[in-house]
Amino acid sequence: MRIEISSQRLQSDFVKKVEEISGQSLLSCNQCGKCSAGCPMSFAMDFLPNQIIRLAQLGLEGDVATSKTVWLCASCLICTIRCPRGVDLGRVMEALRLITLRKNIDYMEASKISADTLSELPQIALVGGFRKHTA
């Protein structure tokens, strides 16, 4: 996929926000791709985890916001323990989700979960899901 990079599209306040919420330095990532190699959810993602970090480094907020990737991250932290540059990707993914959720935009609608599913799912699934996917 081609992405247009121009001075108008680069938002440095976005980079600052991600770094503040995650406590991580985005530029520490040198795009080695180890995170994407180990990611168990990458098969379902549109952008790979390292590509999301690249978009975030460049300040391309809109492209990150429309990608499915951060919503498919299960916070399993394989990337976090393997990153040779010490970037805690789990925290970066969380920051990217929160930037959307804090605009009161939910990824999931609780009311759309069927009664059967609700009664069947373990509480940790529901609480975890709401925590990660709702404002």
């Binding site: 098969f43 299960a74 920051a95 929160l98 799912l121």
Partner: protein, 292 residues
């Protein structure tokens, strides 16, 4: 010996088998698990945002309960609870500024500085009871049973809360061998099952379950053993779909580690609550003459 114990929500519902089988087994092994009073939900997902302290309150309040009830150690069973309690505790030990903010906010509570030690029951089995002592108590070795240990994520990651070697854990392997069964190595043992994505993206979890289960089967495992109620659900309940989707897939039983431990200690199978299983684990157990 008494051990303070935090169950968490799911152990009182779907994962009753994990709880009852553990309490009964630990009693045989000399440890009396004492449930802490007035516990609340652990929060399930540890907050990964630097500016979000509110979500640490739930796990920290549980640690305060343990401390004010006179214990300096708490055992956990659910992998999610273990992770949130352990991580929140580390935060309270290491981050003075956040600790102060949290303590100030919880005005009605005693000040907490991370005094309680958070452990998973598997660690108690390994480090306090010891494999040799467990082996001596085994009355019905699970001979000839090929079991794949499945660790999942939250017992091992991040590094600072890992109960074992992060990339090559052996604690479940050792337990399987201790109770007389054969541990089957397979490359998905520490890979995520899809976790809470079962709520919003269930299809991705179905795919994860297939990857994990089909590989365990290819290694000729007869069952999977694990600790986490969410892995148990995702890898168990998704099999209904997988059986329809893959004609050669007949299902594979999933067990909590303590269910198999309890059977090897010749405890009443009722403590295992097999009625809450997905699929039919009894078929395998009856074939092995482990249950009547």
């Amino acid at each position: 010996m008494d051990l303070s114990y935090y169950p968490g929500c799911t152990l009182k519902t779907q994962a009753k088998g994990l709880e009852d089988a553990t309490i009964a087994s630990m009693a045989i092994l000399g440890i009396n698990m004492v449930e802490i009073q007035r516990w609340n939900c652990c929060g399930a997902a540890y907050s990964l945002a630097d500016d979000d302290l509110a979500h640490h309150l739930a796990p920290v309040r549980n640690l305060i309960r343990v401390s004010e009830q006179g214990a300096n150690k708490v055992g956990t069973l659910c992998s999610f609870c273990y992770n949130t309690l352990k991580r929140a505790n580390l935060l309270m030990q290491k981050d003075g500024e956040k600790r102060k903010t949290l303590n100030d906010f919880m005005e009605e509570e005693m000040d907490y500085n991370g005094e309680v030690e958070v452990v998973h029951i598997l660690e108690v089995l390994r480090d306090e009871i010891g494999w040799g002592n467990i082996e001596e108590k085994v009355k019905v070795p699970l001979r000839g049973m090929r079991i794949a240990p499945y660790y999942g994520c939250t017992l091992l990651r991040p590094q600072e809360v890992a109960i074992d070697e992060v990339e090559r854990p052996t604690i479940l392997h050792r337990l399987i061998e201790t109770i007389g069964a054969e541990a089957v190595d397979f490359p998905f043992a520490t890979e995520c099952c899809g976790s809470f994505q079962i709520v919003s993206n269930p299809d991705s979890v179905t795919q994860r379950a297939w990857d994990i289960l089909s590989l365990a089967l290819r290694r000729e495992a007869e069952a999977l053993v694990l600790t986490c109620p969410l892995c148990y659900f995702n890898l168990g309940q998704r099999q209904k779909i997988l059986v329809r989707r893959h004609s050669d897939f007949k299902g594979i039983p999933i067990f909590y580690f303590s269910q198999l431990l309890a059977l090897s200690l010749q405890l009443d199978p009722q403590v295992c609550h097999f009625e809450l299983s997905y699929g039919d684990p009894l078929l395998l157990l009856k074939g092995k003459k482990l249950v009547p």
